[in-house]
């Protein structure tokens, strides 16, 4: 199944947009020296456009199509009401520079979301500005850098990062101008404490730790780690990609983290959009709060006229209950404020507001108990799958996992079969493959995160597929090497794509 490129559907003179006539007198156009000559965009009719994209959508696999156990990405179901909420006119059609009195609803939503994230994580402050997880990491490392510099500890320029970390951790560290020092993992999948101790000194700015880590394991020595790092003068950065394992289970601030990002597009059910947009709010302790990027939303008590709903330009302290009874009510006024010693803004405007609306809706619908239940079931689902699948595929770190686990994608008596083959064969069974070849410390890694929104029946169907694939691997491995055969295309030649770069459509 292939679909023509949009340019191949083009014919001169077509247009799928219906624009108004000019209703004011035309002005003289600029001189030709400023004007462009051609504009090589496709020309298609509306029906052809719609069919083109519907065809493309049918060549795509999303959570709404089927099981998507992509480890580390928390591909949980994205509630439909979130989409309706983000599209409400008053949210979707407000300009970021409107006067604050015209966007109190937006600012209130952001303020309350800030409070919710603080309540869930135990931190004192938050900035909603970072656009995604990696963006939050860069933010956090820059905050740690600013903190040390403000204390005359500018020589601290090393960030300790376990070998199981996401690739974004070292990349963010280097972007912030720091050196990264890799730490080994021990045989139980924890940070190797001896290796940590050996690398602690007065050049260490901090440590980036994903907990539970990318093996899906909660570090058994976590409190020792945070203690050691703090004792050496470093700060703990938490990679919150796996916060879906911790809602209502533990508050990272209480566990000893100083600054951390959250992924609203993972934990808080906002859709992944085929690669984004995400949202990566950063939460921090009071000691780091002043360094947060901004602006952030603050609230202050104020008086409103009951009749008009307008804010009164008077301090609440002046408010005399007897004198003004019936005329005023107390409420909150929301405004944007830059933290005092901010590292600066990390993007234009205030963050991914549309994503915040979705996450806010989710949190308000679930409440504290519902969020905790989501975490409990995410961990239940992962352990259930692991308890069965470890009998079929090697499980390198065999202990209770949190929301995900990592298998070796190899089959006994089928030496030619790799994790990639198993993944591609899963496609033929109508299932999205797990994350492959990550974390790097597991050979032929298959990283499986079922999430809490999947039923036992779905999990059992996945077990059934994985069982049959192991059998096929022994009996007819070619089936796996040839897979997928039930997808819109077969295996694609990635080497050719990189060697013979074709990055845009060109007219023959």
């Amino acid at each position: 199944m292939t679909e023509p490129i949009i340019y191949e559907l083009s014919a001169p003179g077509r247009c799928a947009a219906h624009l108004p006539e000019l209703d004011v007198p035309a002005s003289e156009l600029p001189p030709a020296s400023l004007l462009r000559d051609d504009l090589d965009l496709p020309e298609v009719s509306e029906v052809d456009l719609v069919r083109h994209y519907v065809h493309l959508s049918r060549m795509n696999y999303g959570v709404d199509v089927g099981f998507y156990p992509l480890g580390s990405c928390t591909m949980k179901y994205n509630p439909k009401v979130n989409e309706d909420a983000a599209r409400l006119t008053g949210f979707a059609h407000t300009h970021p520079y409107q006067p604050e009195e015209t966007v109190q609803g937006n600012l209130q939503l952001m303020y309350e979301l800030q409070e919710f994230l603080k309540a869930l994580t135990g931190f004192d402050a938050v900035s909603l500005q970072p656009a995604a997880g990696a963006h939050g990491e860069l933010t956090g490392v820059l905050m740690i850098r600013a903190y040390h510099q403000a204390r005359g500890q500018g020589q601290r320029n090393q960030m300790l990062i376990p070998d199981s970390a996401h690739g974004t951790n070292p990349a963010s560290t280097v972007m912030a101008g720091y050196e990264m020092v890799e730490l080994k993992s021990d045989a139980r999948g924890n940070v190797d404490l001896d290796d940590l101790r050996a690398h602690l000194n007065d050049r260490v700015a901090g440590m980036m730790l994903t907990n539970p880590n990318t093996l899906g394991l909660f570090d058994e020595n976590l409190l020792t780690i945070t203690h050691l790092v703090h004792e050496a003068g470093g700060l703990m950065y938490g990679d919150g990609a796996n916060f879906n394992a911790l809602m209502g289970v533990a508050k990272p601030a209480e566990l000893g983290f100083d600054v951390m990002h959250l992924n609203l597009h993972k934990t808080f059910s906002t859709p992944h959009g085929g690669g984004g947009p995400g949202s990566g709010p950063v939460v921090a302790t009071a000691a780091l709060a002043d360094f947060l990027p901004g602006p952030i939303v603050v609230a202050e008590p104020c008086l409103f006229d009951l009749a008009t709903g307008q804010r009164l330009e008077r301090a609440v302290e002046d408010y005399d209950e007897d004198e003004e009874e019936g005329a005023c009510r107390r409420g909150l006024w929301y405004r944007l404020q830059m933290p005092r010693r901010s590292i600066g803004r990390v993007k234009a405007f205030y963050g991914h507001f549309g994503v915040m609306v979705r996450a806010y809706t989710y949190i308000r619908m679930l409440g504290a108990e519902g969020l905790k239940q989501s975490t409990l079931d995410a961990v239940l689902n992962a352990n259930y799958l692991m308890s069965i699948l470890k009998e079929i595929y090697p499980l390198p770190y065999d202990r209770t996992c949190m929301h995900e686990f990592v298998l070796e994608g190899v089959v006994k008596d089928a030496p030619g079969v790799r994790a990639l083959d198993i993944s591609k064969r899963l496609i033929d069974y109508g299932i999205h493959p797990p994350t492959n070849y990550f974390p790097l410390i597991v050979t032929e890694a298959l990283m499986i995160e079922p999430t809490e929104t999947e039923s036992k029946a779905t999990l059992d169907a996945f077990v059934e597929a994985m069982t049959r694939i192991a059998q096929e691997a022994r009996e007819n491995p070619q089936l796996l090497h040839d897979a997928p055969v039930n997808a819109p295309v077969g295996r694609l030649d990635e080497v050719r794509a990189a060697r013979n770069l074709v990055l845009r459509w060109k007219r023959e």
């Binding site: 600029p30 008053g90 993944s423």
Partner: protein, 447 residues
């Protein structure tokens, strides 16, 4: 209220299979004194209740569909054809993630390939990536890339004072650990000629915005030659809608073209999510950040698409990657692609011309008012500077009474432009709205 499907019997079966009594037993590794803390959040709501509350909250805002919006300054109120949101609402697109498994992601991959193709055509550049978070972060990544092209040896970045102020701030935030000097934007007196003169052997790049933040359009002839003579790169930021009318960054021989892609089919949404488009000359493709989609074939020789040159990226190259970017703005890039395809060659030119003529008409009409001054001599596109008789915040407060969202207060950023407002007029503003604006401006001047 949750989205979890298990009933009690299923939970029991699963716990038995695992071999634990209760689900809480799975958390014994969490230090006991911190395990299961109290979390205080508002009580759960049903769909009906939360939507009622959100509706009320959203309706307490003034929005651009009920008020006339003349505010731009980097986020623009443009028409979004109905097809755009219908296509974005296909959940095969919006509930997928990064297309690491190309066989089941051809929809995402081909649509990004088409996006890349259309952005290249629009900017007249060779290659384009799959998006950055927004225009500001795209600019910060351009600086990092220019620094990398110079192999880290050039430590100066010259940036025009008329680049969006928040982009300039973002560039400074990103580069604070890199030991770079960002200069050129200290005063509005630094015009193109002055900026070009600041480019020297230690300069990685010159960054200009065209149309600039003040809405003005510049003839950039000779700028690239002067910058290239110093072996520096020329980075041009632009409004993609302006490219329906004006010369493209490629026409000016830019090395990197970038900008805020929001005008291409993403709603204002109080500042995000938007997308940064980023395109460059082919010779620099391996130093580019972000995802790239390339064409290839499958085992049967059929055309297909994959993520390519992944060895630039963090998940492969870790600390040696060109950037840390992972999640990007995929769905906004899809919106931009659908928008560009829907408008096409004629439609985008038409939108640009509607903006141009309406903005010039409005500027002319305001210039007639005694209390206001408009510079009609400097070429501009859809935004222009209006000198006001009193502080812009006061004017804007007055305009709200007429259900008009006024312009951007330039005095916040440029001390020399105190009491100057940046007004934006697009195809969304009817002749009647423009007439109302002119009348309201006259009224509020005398209040």
């Amino acid at each position: 209220m949750t989205y979890v499907p298990h009933n009690a019997a299923e939970r029991r079966q699963m716990l038995d299979r695992i071999g634990v009594q209760s689900v809480e037993d799975l958390f014994s590794v969490v230090p006991e004194r911190y395990r299961f803390p109290e979390v205080i959040l508002p009580k759960p709501l049903s769909e009906l209740e939360i939507m009622a509350e959100l509706r009320e909250m959203s309706e307490s805002n003034m929005d651009t569909q009920h008020a006339a919006c003349f505010l731009g300054a980097g986020a623009y109120n443009h028409y979004i054809p109905s097809v755009v949101d219908h296509i974005l609402s296909r959940s095969e697109f919006y509930t997928a993630y990064t297309p690491y498994q190309p066989e089941v992601s051809q929809g995402t991959l081909q649509s990004i390939f088409e996006y890349q193709s259309m952005i290249c055509a629009l900017t007249k550049m060779d290659v384009c990536n799959a998006s950055h978070y927004d225009g500001a972060t795209a600019m910060a990544e351009a600086v990092i890339m220019a620094h990398s092209v110079a192999r880290g040896k050039r430590r100066k970045v010259v940036i025009a004072p008329t680049v969006h102020p928040e982009y300039r701030q973002t560039v400074r935030t990103y580069t604070q650990g890199m030991g770079l000097t960002v200069t050129g934007d200290e005063t509005l007196e630094n015009d193109l000629e002055a900026l070009v003169n600041l480019v020297d052997e230690d300069t990685a790049c010159l960054i200009v915005q065209n149309p600039d933040f003040l809405g003005r359009v510049h003839d950039l002839s000779g700028v690239a030659d002067a910058v290239h003579a110093k072996k520096a790169l020329l980075v041009i930021a632009c409004d993609p809608i302006s490219l329906g009318l004006y010369k493209a960054p490629g026409d000016w021989d830019a090395d990197i073209a970038l900008g805020e892609g929001q005008p291409l089919g993403s709603p204002l949404s109080f500042g995000g999510p938007y997308l940064g488009f980023f395109a460059c000359k082919e010779e620099y493709v391996r130093r580019m950040a972000g995802r790239l989609v390339g064409q290839t074939v499958d085992t049967q020789g059929r055309r297909g698409f994959v993520l390519t040159l992944a060895t630039r990226e963090q998940h492969i190259r870790r600390e040696r990657a060109t950037s840390n970017i992972c999640t990007n703005q995929g769905l906004n890039a899809l919106a931009a692609a659908v928008y560009l395809a829907a408008l096409g060659r004629c439609g985008l030119a038409r939108v640009a011309q509607l903006c141009y003529h309406k903005a010039h008409y409005a500027a002319q009409a305001i210039s007639v008012l005694d209390a206001y001054d408009v510079d009609l001599a400097t070429p501009f596109f859809k935004e222009f500077i209006v000198r006001c008789p009193k502080p812009v915040a006061e004017i804007n407060r007055g305009l709200l009474d007429y259900e008009i969202i006024g312009g951007y207060d330039l005095g916040q950023v440029y001390p020399e432009l105190e009491q100057h407002m940046l007004l934006c007029v697009t195809e969304m503003n009817s002749a009647a709205q423009i007439a109302d604006l002119v009348e309201a401006l006259e009224e509020v001047a005398h209040d």
